[in-house]
Symmetry: C2
Subunit: 134 residues, 2 copies
């Protein structure tokens, strides 16, 4: 069912510094920061040859990342995004096996404009996993 | 300097269950578990089309992962491993910019038989980054 690792998402406590770090110190290709008010995040993408690191920073007051940064002052690894061919089928198969889907249990449109869902980290050994229809 | 994402490492609280989960529930190709007493870990590899998820479980009494599992009972994301062409050159460049290398500051031979080093997570926004000479 799962395919490519689409991205690893990392929350950072200072987006400008993080972009500069990956770009100048680590020599990677990094996009500029983009605000996504409908998701409550600012993102930038570190483009590696085989996958992407998504840098995340909270945007606005109700950001889903604010609590994460409260608990992890410097930031830290936030989630893995794995590609699936068909999000509806993946959801049905996983729910049948007892996996919980966060939110209302339905796929939504993610930050990349594609259908996504998040599995409950308690069901996946403490790792937040996003499934994205490729 | 940085190249491919070699692997994402995840600590799990039950290796057999984690292997079964990725293999049977997520439909991925997963190696059998291998004990690496010299590193104090048991590992298994989830082979994705573009990279690898390394499942980790503590082995023996002095395992470097025991404290992680004490703090994260279910497990969680542990580190990212990024490839570099030349570990000595990468180390020199990063140390010159103030990055701290864990341990004695020298590269060592990692779990895959290649020279590796770990950057201090406080210097990389809370993310533990392993550099591996590809």
């Amino acid at each position: 069912m799962i395919g490519r690792l689409n991205h690893v998402a990392i929350v950072v406590s200072d987006m400008d510094k993080a972009i500069s770090q990956y770009r100048n110190d680590f020599g990677a290709r990094v996009s500029d920061a983009v605000n996504m008010p409908e998701h409550g995040v600012t993102t930038a993408f570190v483009e590696l040859p085989n996958t992407t690191i998504e840098l995340l920073y909270p945007l606005g007051t109700g950001s889903p990342l604010s609590r994460f940064l409260d608990r992890h002052k410097d930031g830290g690894m936030h989630h893995l995004c794995l590609e699936v061919e068909n999000i509806g089928r993946a959801r049905a198969q996983l729910q049948e096996k007892g996996y919980r889907v966060l939110g209302d249990g339905q796929p939504s449109i993610g930050a990349h404009g594609k259908p996504v869902l998040f599995l409950h980290p308690k069901d996946v050994f403490g790792t937040l996993i996003e499934l994205e229809q490729a």
